[in-house]
Structures are given as C-alpha cells and as structure tokens.
C-alpha cells in the first residue's frame, strides 16, 4: 500500500487546489463586506424584496412543475414507449443551451402575441415582466435536474415490490403513492433541492423574460452594471448567505429523514 502514498498525496494536493478555487472567491466576497455593510444591505428594501421574490418564485417553479415532472419521471423509469431515447435527450436540452438563448426562446413562447401569452391574458396572467414569467424561466432551466434525479430514484426501486403490491390488491395509483414514491423519495428530494437551487440562481433566462420585478441575480448584475463592483458585492454576500442557510437547513431535514428511514 505504501507505493500509493505519493499518488495519494498528489491527489490530495489537487483536491485542495480545487477546493481553494471554490472557496477563495466566496471567502473574498465576505471579507470585502463589513458586518455593518452586510446588515445595511440585508435591510435594504429593494434587496430584501428581491430575495423574497427569488425564493418564492423558485419554490413555486419547483412545486408546480415538480407535480408534473415526478409522475413523468416514473414513466421514464418504468415504461417503454416510442421515442423514449429522443425524449430523454430533449429533457436535457435546457442544461446544454446558453441560458440567454433559453430566455429568448421562452420570451417568444409566452410573449403577448403568442398563443400562450394570449391565453394567459384572458385569465389575467401576464408572463412578460412578471412573477409568472420568472417562474416559467426558472422551471425551464432547472427541471432537468429534478427529472433526472427522480427517474434514477424510481429506477432503483425494485420492480418486484411494485408487482407485489399490485398482486396484494393495490390499484396502480396506490402502488405509486405507497411504494414507488416513498422508496424513491431520497432521490426525488435531492432532485427537488437541486431544482430549487438551480432556479434560484438563474440569471440568463430570467433577465430576458423579466428584468422587472427584479430577482436577486438580476439585482446583483444591475448594481454591478450601474454602480460597480463595490455595490454588487454586499448584495451577493447577503444572497449567498441566504442560499447557504436554506440549503444547510434542507440538507439537515433530508438527512434526518434518511436516518428515520434507516
């Protein structure tokens, strides 16, 4: 085993570099922000409003689209159907295209003169420059994360258990809710968290569909473009803090759930 020692050291060194690469800019951001500046920014109405908007729109995007995406993921994991490979590829398109291009595409799709835009207008929904538009943009770029995680989760549930449940008189819907969903829940939860996080941090697609109302990523960019780095840094620090707190709490909840299951 000693022969591996130099290699292990080299790998650890490379790992340290990567870690430093991730941590250093973030740490620099916080070091550049004094506590007074930090709290002043956090209590700035525009900042607080944008953070709140970002949080709830990304959560709505995750919940609304998740309701459709989770059953669809089960289909992808369990059923054979025509063009399944093609459909699986299509699902990942939002990950690989530039997000500004995604924004342009969504804008064309929901603009006032489009069919969707006109239908929305009839029920009083305006997608451009509004929260619903932000939700759609966030969902578009983040939904692959949920679908992929949920599909893998459902695929890892032994099919025999679903068959056994059917054999025991359960309807397919009951099998889904009492067997497939609880057993795939770990992956689904992690997919939901990923989707929410990805939606929350989205800038490119959101800024094109809705410059106003301003989500925090857009606000950070606006402050940077209009006033410079010094104005953008505290907002970024506050937003990153909020994100981190949420993820740590969510991860803790998820881990506790895991332990209960074990």
């Amino acid at each position: 085993m000693n022969g591996y020692q130099p290699m292990k050291l080299l790998f650890a060194f490379l790992g340290g570099l990567v870690l430093l690469f991730i941590v250093a800019p973030l740490a620099g951001l916080f070091l550049a922000t004094s506590p007074a500046e930090f709290f002043e920014t956090a209590s700035d109405k525009e900042v607080a409003g944008s953070i709140w908007l970002t949080l709830w729109t990304s959560m709505m995007a995750t919940l609304l689209f998740g309701m459709a995406a989770i059953p669809f993921s089960w289909l992808l994991a369990r059923r054979k159907f025509p063009f399944k490979k093609f459909i699986s590829a299509v699902i990942n398109v939002p990950v690989v295209i530039p997000h500004s291009a995604a924004g342009i595409a969504i804008l064309g799709f929901v603009a006032r003169d489009s069919a969707v835009g006109q239908a929305g207008e009839k029920i009083g929904l305006n997608f451009v420059g509004s929260a619903p538009g932000i939700i759609i943009a966030m969902a578009f770029v983040s939904i692959p994360f949920l679908i992929n995680a949920a599909r893998d989760g459902f695929a890892s549930v032994p099919e025999k258990l679903e068959k056994a449940a059917l054999n025991l008189g359960a309807s397919p819907a009951r099998v889904f809710f009492t067997i497939s969903l609880p057993l795939a829940w770990r992956s689904i939860l992690s997919g939901l968290i990923m989707m929410w996080a990805r939606g929350m941090s989205e800038f490119g697609a959101v800024v094109i569909v809705a410059y106003h109302p301003m989500t925090t990523p857009v606000l950070i960019w606006e402050r940077f473009a209009s006033f410079g780095l010094d104005w953008a840094i505290p907002v970024a620090a506050v937003f990153i803090t909020v994100c981190l707190v949420f993820f740590i709490v969510l991860r803790m909840v998820a881990t506790r759930y895991d332990n209960v299951e074990d």
Partner: protein, 360 residues
C-alpha cells in the same frame, strides 16, 4: 372441485418459452410444480398472478376466467423467493397492506393482522422494521401478508430455498398447517424432497410444459419420461411407516438403526427422525445385485425375481420383485457377467445408510 385450471397457457419472453401448459388444482389441494431452474416455474406463477401476460391460453379461478383480469383483482397471493417485503414499512404495515388496499375497516384490519401474525408466528415482531428480520421471519411475514389478501389460491415461488435446514422444517410445518385450514396452494420448487414432504399432487415441468402430473408416489415411482426419472432420480421411492427406536435412551448418539415397513417389506435404516409416516428413497446405484447371498456389511438383503431389464443412461436398470418392485442400476458388463435375465432368481443388498427417510 377445481379451484385453479390452467388451460393451454403459453408465454414467450425473449429466448424463453412456455408452450401449452395445462394442469388443474382442486380446492384445498397442495399442488407442487417441480422443475429445474429455468424450467419456467416462476414465470408460470407470475402469469397466474397476472404479473406477466400470457400470449395464449386461459386461467380459470374458482370457475371464472381470470385470463384478462387486472392483477389487483385476481386474488391470488404470491409469496416470492426473496419475500419482497416493503422495506419502508414495518411488519405490521406489510401485513396490513392488502387489507388497506381492499379497504377493510381499521378495526377489522387490526384484528386480521394480529390473527395472521399469530398463525404465522410473527406476533412478537409486528413493530419490527423488515430490514431487521431473519430470512425465516421475513418469509413468515410474506406468508401472512399474502394470506391477508384472503386469496382463492396461494402461489409460493421457492419460498424455502433461501432458508437453512431447520428453518425450512419449521416453515414446512406452517405451510402444511395453512393448507390444512383449507387454503389451496400452488408451490413451485426444484427440490424433490420438498415436493415429497408437502405435495398432495405433483406436476413436473420441463421445457416449458407440464410433462407429468399425479400423486407423489405416481410421479416418483413411475416417471413418464427419462427427464422425470433423471430429475427426480429415484425409482425406489416407497411410502410407509418408520417404527419407534428400540432401546434408545434420551441423549444417546444420533442415527440408530430403525425399521421402516412398506408393502409388507421391512427395511433397516439409519435415522433420527421421530417415528411416523414418510417415504424412503433408495438410489438404484446403491443397490448390489448378486446370484447368491454374499456376506457383507449390508443389513438389507432380499431374494427376488428379475421382472425386467431396461437400458439406462449409464448401464442397465434391473427391476427386481422382492415383494415390492426395486430398481437396481448395474453396468452393462456386470449384467452380462452375472447373466441377468428376466425371471432369474437373484439377491439384492443395500446398507442401512443407503436409505434416506423423508418424513411426511
């Protein structure tokens, strides 16, 4: 009265094929489908349960054609080899699952769960997570869960194969008890001993079809095809009574010489099983045939008349009537040098340890 009727069932799954399977199981019967692994036994059970669609044929349950019935309406409970318990529920949750699916009232569900847990001997485990069950306990829970469905027919897919010998014995007794209460059971296995112990009737499945069907004695003593003969491998299969041990004191060494009587003939064998009804198996290759009684360590010596000679896969099988018909496997050279022929008087001998007793 017929409870389950399988008529011309065929299935094609890739390379695998079930072709025209037919058999019937009477109400309250314990039917064992015996076959080698890969013979299609498990597939057949899943077809009956509706988990795999048949490409042709019909399945009748209690007189009703259920071939096109939805899985959840078939009321045939399957117990899988690996129990397939739901890992996110405890034992109680597992047994209650079918009752909740069938929308029983809460009180009724609770009563039934406790009753079945009592029957299967898992009443002390109801709150246990299924991950913490032993193999035997898991199979008992799986049995209780399948019984909670109140199935017209219980389908068992090699339920004992993952268990050790002692647990197997205990679970066999439980299965017999469940059957005694009137439950119709179809049990698939590759283990002829399991079939002999449990079956009321046996169906032998080979190459995707049922090649022979009958009582245990019919199938084992008169195998219809070379496959059946080779697979069950026992021409010498006799039903009878094992006597009490003579002069055996408590705690003495195991395996004393015992007496087994069948058809007026008595064999001496080694066994530590309790006295009672059962089968003995004597492998044809363990029997020695001679023209005169030779002195040897064999305690079972009988004179008889050769009733037939049949070429076997290895050598010749000689049938000798010693009061009952005994098969003896000899090499072709021995058959020639002993001048064995139909009607000739010969002696047959075998050791007490060559006899295997299977308790019914």
């Amino acid at each position: 009265m017929t409870m389950l009727k399988i008529k011309d069932i065929s299935v094609r799954l890739g390379q695998f094929e079930l072709a025209g399977v037919n058999f019937e199981v009477a109400r309250g019967e314990y039917f064992v489908l015996l076959g080698m692994s890969g013979a299609g036994k498990s597939v057949l059970l899943q077809v009956i349960g509706g988990l795999i669609p048949a490409s042709g044929g019909q399945i009748f349950l209690d007189g009703k054609d259920i071939s096109g019935e939805k899985i959840q309406r078939r009321r045939v409970g399957i117990v899988f080899q690996d129990s397939a318990l739901f890992p996110h529920m405890n034992v109680y949750g597992n047994i209650a699952y079918p009752l909740k699916s069938l929308k029983h009232r809460a009180g009724e569900t609770d009563r039934k769960v406790r009753e079945l847990a009592g029957l299967t001997g898992v009443d002390h485990l109801l709150k246990r997570a299924v991950a913490n069950l032993s193999g035997g306990e898991a199979q008992r829970v799986a049995l209780a869960r399948a019984l909670a469905l109140d199935p017209s027919c219980l389908l068992l897919d090699e339920p004992l194969s993952a268990l050790d010998v002692q647990l197997r014995g205990e679970l066999r007794s439980l299965l017999r008890e469940i059957n005694r209460r009137g439950q119709t059971i179809v049990h698939v296995t590759h283990d002829y001993e399991e079939a002999a112990v449990l079956a009321g009737r046996i169906g032998v499945i080979e190459g995707g079809t049922v090649v022979q069907e009958g009582t245990t004695a019919q199938v084992f003593q008169h195998p219809k095809s070379e496959f059946v003969a080779r697979f069950v491998g026992i021409r010498n299969f006799f039903r009878g009574m094992l006597d009490k041990e003579k002069g055996r004191e408590e705690g003495r060494g195991k395996g004393s010489l015992r007496r087994f009587t069948t058809g007026g003939i008595g064999f001496t064998l080694l066994s530590d099983e309790p006295p009672g009804e059962g089968y003995v198996v004597i492998r044809a290759e363990d029997v020695i045939i001679s023209n005169d009684l030779a002195s040897s360590s064999a305690v079972n010596n009988f004179s008889g008349v050769i009733t037939g000679l049949e070429p076997a896969r290895m050598g010749t099988e000689v049938m000798v009537d010693i009061g009952i018909s005994l098969g003896v496997l000899v090499s072709d050279d021995s058959a020639a040098s002993l001048e064995l022929a139909g009607g000739k008087n010969v002696w047959v001998s075998f050791k007490a340890s060559a006899i295997k007793f299977i308790r019914k």
